[in-house]
């Protein structure tokens, strides 16, 4: 039996791992985005302690390696009497960590939006929250699409760190299959290919959004300075 046949026989393990990776990635990135849009609203519209608190969290989180943060949640918190299973710790780590990055991306773009827009929205009677949801957030999403896309790919890759805190995601699955039958080349080539395909899918999706943005004149403005 060839090595590839062995891998084929154990495809169920790999597929389960891949499914877990996709679930971790998609749930976490959607939740992280929602969380980040709430954080940005607070940072941009409130003054005082709460806004400062979130700013500090957002800046601090971005100076921490993801695995270190997952360690704090999974290995550190039990010292304080909070015991999380690996999946819960993994989800919380992915969501809150990437929410900080998303928040920073959205905040940076919000700062560049013309002031007149918020005023126009107020004038037609939008409340703060409605204005944010219907006027500002859609623009931020369109304008930041390429950068958000890069961050989504980072989020996808960070799911692999969770194997170290025992989550059975794709890399853990490949690792389990290879260690039993000693087919590291085949197992990891397949894993890498799956990560690659997923990131391609993310890029295609982001390019679609970018196209919409450009059609509405919200593009990044790739002005070619040379004639």
């Amino acid at each position: 039996m060839s090595r590839w046949d062995i891998l084929w026989d154990h495809r169920a393990t790999i597929i389960r791992g891949f499914e877990n990776t996709l679930i971790l990635f998609s749930v976490s990135s959607v939740a992280a985005f929602l969380l980040s849009s709430a954080i940005v609203l607070v940072i941009q519209t409130h003054r005082g302690a709460l806004s400062g608190f979130f700013r500090t969290i957002v800046d601090g989180m971005r100076m921490l390696p993801f695995l270190m943060y997952a360690y704090i949640l999974y290995y550190g918190l039990p010292s304080l009497g909070i015991r999380l299973d690996a999946w819960t710790a993994g989800f919380i780590a992915l969501i809150t960590y990437h929410a900080a990055y998303f928040a920073e991306i959205l905040r940076g773009t919000w700062a560049t939006l013309p002031k007149g827009q918020t005023e126009a929205a107020r004038a037609v009677g939008f409340g703060n929250l409605a204005m944010y949801r219907r006027v500002i957030l859609p623009q931020l999403m369109l304008r930041t699409a390429p950068v958000l896309g890069n961050q989504l790919i980072v989020c996808l890759k960070d799911t692999a760190f969770l194997m170290i805190i025992t989550v059975r995601e794709l890399t853990a699955a490949a690792s389990a299959v290879q260690s039993t039958y000693f087919i590291p080349f085949e197992a990891f080539v397949v894993a890498i290919a799956l990560y690659w395909l997923t990131s391609m899918a993310i890029e295609v999706l982001v390019a679609r959004i970018g196209l919409v943005a450009e059609r509405r004149g919200l593009g990044y403005g790739h002005v070619d300075s040379r004639r």
């Binding site: 695995l67 290995y75 890759k157 170290i164 590291p184 990891f188 690659w196 040379r226």
Partner: protein
């Protein structure tokens, strides 16, 4: 934490530091070489580099380091952990650095090249004296940004058994039964290190901005 725990922590920090430093020292010029090769528009080579950069962007370091450490012996290259870790980080950071360099090369004003050629400079001379010093200044903020990403991704090498600044906290906790203090201490060391890079990046950004004025 006692004295022993503290020195273990420092040893872990040192491991992270030197492995990252080698990866940066090799990855930055390697990225430049890849960017130049790609811009030279050699048919097959160009496509291979595009593929490499695309794979490099998408592959988690945990997966890559396992792949390199475990698969290399099958091809007659048995690697010790540290070599495998260094190679992994180089391959990863070079892919990102290549994109930073390429943006700088693409954005390099044609007028600058013309002024150099009109002054009688050969290609190698104007690359060395006119282009490289300028794209170095414009790329450096981006390259430093990639360095912080490299350090943040470096704990992946723990998966092949290297005791870096992240993994050492497990070792210490195994002795003291108090995981939180070493984890917090390691987190603080990372934050100090990375915030230094972020500050450096801001300063370099200002300098790059002056050049394009």
């Amino acid at each position: 934490m006692d004295q022993a725990a503290f020195s273990a922590l420092l040893a872990g920090a040192w491991t992270t530091a030197w492995i990252s430093a080698i990866a940066i020292a090799v990855g930055v010029p390697l990225g430049l070489a890849l960017a130049l090769l790609r811009e030279a528009r050699v048919p097959v080579v160009g496509h291979l580099i595009v593929l490499y950069v695309s794979l490099g962007r998408a592959t988690p370091l945990v997966t890559l380091v396992l792949f390199i450490f475990l698969a290399a012996p099958l091809f007659g290259f048995p690697l010790d952990r540290y070599t495998a870790a260094v190679i992994t980080l180089i391959l990863n950071t070079a892919a990102f650095n290549a994109e930073v360099w390429r943006a700088a090369i693409r954005g390099f004003p044609r007028e600058q090249v013309e002024a150099a050629r009109a002054a009688g400079m050969t290609r190698p001379l104007y690359f060395r004296r006119i282009m490289l010093p300028q794209i170095w200044i414009t790329s450096l903020p981006g390259l430093v940004n990639e360095m912080t990403f490299l350090i943040k991704a470096s704990p992946a090498i723990a998966v092949i058994g290297i005791v870096d600044l992240t993994r050492v906290t497990n070792r210490i906790a195994a002795v003291t039964y108090e995981p939180l203090p070493p984890i917090i201490a390691a987190a603080v060391i990372y934050m100090v290190l990375i915030s230094a890079f972020v500050r450096l990046q801001r300063r370099l950004d200002e300098r790059a901005h002056r050049l394009t004025m």
